[in-house]
């Protein structure tokens, strides 16, 4: 019988301004694994998805749900005995106002786009733009992708980031992450 060891990791969690995006980031570094969430403005997201073929309404629907650019990286340079790193976004937990919820994944959106009859090319670009729902990283592997938290612009939340390596399940909580405000809708928000 396989035994999984749950480790509430004592990882380094940092917060600052992303050098390239110039927006706030929250980052975990733990034994060669690095996860960085970089805030995206709703306007950026609207523009990005309109350029990929979505209607104004559909692009706005995405933009209003708290989108971060996420970089998940296995920065190790050599294979270890415990093997590759893997994660599933379905395990990650968002804590906000006393509630727990999950992220909105590619599969969740697929149903929505089908119902809204979004163009096929736009759906294809959308799927590839999101952080994969599940992924396996060998040393040196990484992905960039958007993650959608299904929260209103300006919301704050805590997040349990979870991944596995061998028999270990690592859990790191990032506190007080803030979704970017929607300055177009709420010009007073900072």
């Amino acid at each position: 019988m396989a035994v999984t060891i749950l480790l509430i990791a004592a990882a380094v969690v940092s917060h600052g301004i992303d050098e390239e995006a110039k927006f706030p980031y929250w980052q975990i570094e733990d034994r060669g694994v690095s996860v960085r969430l970089v805030q995206r403005l709703p306007d950026q997201t609207r523009g990005y998805f309109q350029a990929r073929g979505f209607s104004i309404g559909d692009a706005d629907l995405i933009a209003q749900q708290c989108v971060f650019q996420t970089i998940f990286k296995n920065a190790r340079s050599q294979i270890t005995e415990s093997g590759p790193i893997h994660y599933s976004l379905r395990e990650w937990v968002v804590y906000t106002h006393g509630r727990e919820q999950g992220l909105k994944t590619r599969e969740d959106w697929r149903k929505e786009w089908k119902a809204r009859k979004a163009p096929a090319a736009a759906q294809l670009a959308f799927e590839w733009s999101l952080l994969p729902t599940q992924q396996v990283y060998q040393p040196g592997d990484y992905n960039w992708g958007m993650s959608v938290f299904n929260l209103a612009p300006g919301s704050t939340f805590d997040l349990d980031v979870i991944w596995h390596q061998g028999d270990e399940k690592r859990v790191v909580r990032i506190r007080d992450i803030r979704c970017a405000p929607d300055e177009r809708r709420d010009p007073e928000a900072q």
Binding site: E19, P132, D141
Partner: protein, 181 residues
């Protein structure tokens, strides 16, 4: 300031900016590794039209090592690794090692516009409806496969790499040499 001094200052500024972006991109990338694909698989054959209008069939490259890169113009790490892929192509073009970059889901105009900023001389193929990418184990972009001369996928890199890194190039050369034995 003279016109010439202005131009020199502007060029120096651009050089510094690009160097800073290169450093940032390198920092964002992981270690320069080429993990073995486990289990290995026969590479699904495909025929795609290139941005140059030519038709490319994967199986026509049998006997060579083929690096197949799945990418998109809007994907930051895909953009970051393109110059390194071009440098790798320049180093490898006489060695029976070829690079094919398969764009996922975009049209000729988008790819053509991209080459204005990132000029490359290896083929850029168009998988407009994502049919080919679905045949490979790709979950995120960029993902790159290395196919041996017998048509088997042997390595997979998830995320960008510095493809002109000598250790990576030697791994490709060793694959070619092993297959020749």
């Amino acid at each position: 300031m003279t016109h010439r001094a202005c131009v020199v200052t502007a060029l120096f500024g651009i050089f510094l900016g690009l160097t800073a972006l290169d450093l940032l991109a390198a920092e964002r990338q992981g270690a320069q590794t080429l993990p073995v694909l486990s289990p290995p698989m026969a590479a699904p054959d495909f025929v795609l039209t290139g941005e140059d209008g030519k038709r490319y069939r994967l199986s026509d490259y049998r006997g060579q090592v083929v690096v197949v890169n799945f990418w998109a113009t809007w994907c930051p790490p895909c953009r970051y690794e393109m110059p390194a892929m071009e440098r790798a192509h320049q180093k490898l073009k006489d060695e029976k090692i070829v690079l094919l970059a398969v764009n996922v889901g975009e049209d000729e105009e988008s790819v053509f516009a991209f080459t204005g900023q990132y000029p490359v001389t290896f083929p850029l193929l168009l998988d407009r409806d994502g049919t080919v990418v679905k045949q490979y184990p790709v979950i995120g972009l960029p993902t790159t496969f290395v196919i041996d001369p017998h048509g088997n996928v042997t390595y997979r890199a998830v995320g960008g790499r510095e493809w002109d890194d000598e250790a990576l190039l030697n791994q490709l050369r060793q694959l070619l040499n092993r297959s020749a034995l």
